[in-house]
Structures are given as C-alpha cells and as structure tokens.
Amino acid sequence: MASFLTYLISGISLGAVYAIIALGYTMVYGIAKMLNFAHGDVIMIGAYVAFLIFSTLGLSPILAVIVSMLACTVLGITIERIAYKPLRGASSLSVLITAIGVSYFLQNSALLIFGADSKTFTSLVSFPPVKLMGGSVVISSVTIVTILTSIVIMIALTTFINKTRTGQAMLAVSADKGAATLMGIDVNRTIAITFAIGSSLAAIAGILLCSAYPALSSTTGAMPGIKAFTAAVFGGIGSIPGAMIGGLVMGIIENLSKAYISSQLADAIVFGVLIVVLLVKPTGLMGKKIQEKV
C-alpha cells in the first residue's frame, strides 16, 4: 500500500509539472491556433535565469521567480514579434517549422552561453517534506507546491479568460480572427498578450520542473515539452481544464506502468493510451467539437 501511494504521488508530481507546461501549449494553441514548439525551450531559459539569480548570485528565491517570469515574458513577446508575427497569413505548416527552428535556436544559444555540462538546480522550495503512514510515504515539498501551483494557475487562467475584457478578446480572436478585427479588437496585441502569459507560465514550469528534477541543461525542456504537448492533446488542445487533467493522467499512467508493467515500456504505454483516447474521442478528453461553417 505504501509503495502504491509512493508511485501514485510521484505520478501526480510529474503530472502536475506536465500540466503546467501543457497549460502554456494549450493557451497559445487555443488562441493563436499555432503549436509553439519552442515552449519547452522557453521553460529551459526560465530555469537558467532562476538558476543564475538564486544559485550563482545567491539572491532571494522570490526575486528569482519574478525575474525569471519577466525574462520569459520578454522572450516570449520577442519570439512572437520576430518569428511568428510575420507569418500570420502563412500556412500553419510554415509556422510549425518556424517554431521548431526557434526551439533549436534557443537550445543552441543556451548551449553556447551556459556550456554543455549540466548544472544542478538548487530547489527554490525549501520547507521539509510531509511524511504519512509512519514515514513510509514521503511527499516532498516541491510536489506539494507544484500541485497547488498548477491548480491556482488553472483557476486563475479560467477566470481571466471568462471575466476580463482582454480574456473575452482572446476568446473572440480564437473563434474568428477576421470577425474579431471587425469588432475593433487588436488581434496582434491580443496574441502578444497570449504569448506573454504563456511564457511567464513557462518560467514557473521551468522552476518547478528543475526544483523537482534538478539536472539543468540546454535540452532540459525538450522532452517534458513534448510530453506536455501530448498531455495537452490528450486533454483536448485548447481546453484549460483539459490540459490540467491530461497532464495529471499522463504522469500517473507513466509512473504506474513503470511500477507495475515495465519500466522500459512506460513511454510506449503512455503514448498507446493517447492513441486509444484519440481514436475514441478525436478532440481529446475535454476538447470541444467545433462545427466548420461553410
């Protein structure tokens, strides 16, 4: 029983990190209708910025989080302005390839700046772990913070989109760019805001990812990025609660199959489940079915 709980908790912990990354993917996709494959690498940059502030300069962890979020926000807006905005009218394939290009650009820049050897990230969360069942089940402080943060972000984002003018503008752009422009919505500004929010989430995701799994290198964000993207598709890309649920389900399936089926096949099983879900429900768990109007 204690082992099962440990597996489950480490699954939830991994899943919560996937969920936060997936929120970034799903927001950008839902509103700008593009797959921002560089998202995983913005996470990595965010983690490096936090590492510099907290470990190298020895400043406070709160400052590290704030600076890292600001840096990623600026980075996100810059990427959008330079790489994606000129392609607004181009086919989605061109944008996708550009995003992959940006991803490699960020990875290699980080390699150049920070070097190839991985750094050990000091966790920004430092209160003691919670022990259950007489110490046989240990929940680390990072796990608790990650889960809480992902829930807070999910609620905040949903509220922001449904209750504020900017949020409503985002929904309008998502539904129909042309009509939104006619209604007087500044589409470019709205998309830039989307990227800003998505990228600041990436900074938080990077910090939590590296606090839980402290090896930081230029490819740190790549694989979690792909898995989180899968989680977003799994939950229904474009849907905020979907990303959350998708991330958690992915993390739990991954860890339980590692524990009870095979540690080698875990990834194959996760992606197998994804295929089954998409066959049964092509829009993902929480995805909305959108009728194309002719």
Binding site: S10, K119, Y213, N255
Partner: protein, 419 residues
Amino acid sequence: MKKFLSAVCLAAMAASIVACGSGSGAAATTAAPAATEAAATEAAAETEAAEAPAAEAAEAPAGGDGVFVIGGSGPLTGGAALYGIAVQRGGQIAVDEINAAGGINGYQVKWVFEDDEHDAEKALNAYNTLKDQGLQMMVGTVTSGPCLAVVEETADDNMFEITPSGSTQDITINDNVYRMCFSDPDQGKKSAEYIGEHGIATKIGVIYDSSDPYSQGIYETFDEEAPERGLEVVAAEAFTADSKTDFKTQIQKMKDAGAELVFLPFYYTEASLVLQQSKELDYSPIFFGCDGMDGILSLEGFDTSLAEGLLLLTPFAADADDELTQNFVKAYDEAYGEVPIQFAADGYDAVYVIKAAAEAAGITPDMSVSDICDALKGVMGDIKLDGLTGENITFTPEGEPDKAPKAVVIENGAYKAMD
C-alpha cells in the same frame, strides 16, 4: 574541379595545423613547420593521384628525423572536452618523462594530438592530419563513437592503435587495436567481481539506461556475472533517454526489494538525480557506479553530501599513495594546475604500453607504419607493466587489458582510494 577542391581542402588543413601550432604552446609550434611542409608536398602528390595509399605518404617525413611519432585524437573542444584534454595532457607527461630518460630504444618521441570534437567524421580528418604529421603509433581515439570510425582506417593502414578510454566492445575487433581501459562488458563483470570479492553486499538492485548501449551492456554482463560471485540481483529497473528525470518509481522498487546496494551503470548527471530522489524517499543503500560516475563531484551546484559513501569502479584515484601516482599527480599539477582524472592516467599508461612493446620488439623510427605494427603485435602478449591504472597489466589476444579492478569511495566530498 575536384582536383582543385581537394587542393583547396588540403591547403586549408595545412593552414589549420599552423593555426593550432601557434595556439598551443612551444612544443607544438616547433612541430608546425615540418607538418606544413609535409601537408604541402602531399597536397601536390594527392592532387595527382588521390587514390595513392596514404600510409606511404605518412611515413616519409618522420623516418628521416629519427624520432618516433606517437599521437592521437580526442575532443579538445565541445561537451566531452574534459576527456580529450586529460588524455592529451597525460600522454604529454609520459612522453616528456620518456624523452628525459633517453627515449625509446635511444630515439626521442614526438607527441602529436588533434581535436576531433567527439565527432566521427572530424576524427577521420584528425587521423589524416596526424598521418600528415608522420604518425607511427596511435593513442586514440578518446571517445567510443569516433573510435569506431577510426579503427576502420587504422586497420587499412595497419597502424598500431591503443585507445586509452574508448570502452565500446567492437573497438578492438581488428587485431591492430588494443585498449587501456576496461570495455563496457568488462566493467559489468569487474564490478560484480569487486562487490563479491570485497563482500560489500549480497542483495543488489540495478537501475540502468536501456536506451544507451554503454549502460545496457554493463548491466547485462553484471547480471550474468553476479550469481558467480554470490550476489543476488533482487531488482533491475530500466529508464530511457526520454524519461530520465523521474526515478522515484525505480527507487521505490529497489527499496521494496530490499536491495542493500544499488548499482548505477550510467553517467553522473542522471546519477545525481537518483541520489537526490533516494534521499527524498528516505532510502540509503550503498551506491556503486562505473567510470561514467567519475566527475559527479565537479557537477556545478551538486550537493556533494548526497554522494557521501558512493563507490565507483575507476582505475585511478589521484590520492592513492603509491609513488607512481604521487609523481604523476605532482607533474600534472605543476604543468596544468589541476588534479588529473582517470582519462589522464589512461593516456599516460597507453604511452608507456607503447614504450614497453616498442622496447620488447626493438623497433626503430625508420621502419614503416605497417612493420612497426606487426612487430608490436608480436610482443603485446608478452609485455607486463605496472601503470597508474593497475599493477601487472597484461593484454589478451583480443586486445583487452587484464588488470585487477580498483574502486574509489567518496569521503568528505573527495575521492579516496579503496584498498
């Protein structure tokens, strides 16, 4: 057009040799003019007949000088640069010592080393550059992947080659290639041998990277050898390159299976995560790693207290108190201002292996590369030497070293030799 291109390429190569020479100190600078000349003559020759056997061209410049040219390639820049630089420096120290003591068979030795950036294609270029510099015996390459590419070429040229640290099994497939370090499969075997003989533990758990031939190879031979040594593998769990951050599930399974010792045959970056997550799960078995674990203490930001008591199978510990190690560490520190790692010791020993074989075979610098190789091959089975990486080192007919495994333990944040 092709001829013109190859001439341009060769000219560029020659230029790069000069550039390297001026960059890397006095010893290399003196070597540069001769090499440039050789490259230029060859440029002319090779544009005429690009298919001419390269080995012949390579012998010409060195023989006349009456010096042995020994050298190799390894990553001097890029992610694996640490390893290449260590071998280059270790070899340099060995060559300096040999020259000061009168050389090999009365002839001085020239040490040449090229950067291959841990890249197979660049390693081939580096090998050609080395041949242009008159290479007669090769210490290289440092890393496995490039080495697999280069052994094809050295077999064609019948060039004597000893890799200081390329551990992939297939490197020694040709009979001109020998190895200084343990091969991957041998590391698994020797780890089991070491754990069994020293009675460190009997219930063993293994976590390994099933997507990496290095890790998988070590695990398989370890698993095979363990029962022979009275060890019981109670749990073996894999991870892959795609999911190498979260190890808690694997660790929990080790804990449930009651493993007293967890064997970690992979690189230190992932190992640092395993150590940290084990602590989070309140699990503290003995951890045991292979040569990939070497370097964990220099990981930036790593809390070295996590590695306290970690054992690793490595042939070299800089704090060992034998005279050979002490002198080497002192010389290395004087020349480069740092403590040598095992790769430096591998490079040093490899040069001495060549010396021992060369003296046993009585070779001279005016012999052709192929004749030297045949002569050395004939005596490799007979030589025995005490090196930094082991005592009474001998070589099997397959080209593998035969020496007792050594381990170091991490104590108070530093490597300490085990007896």
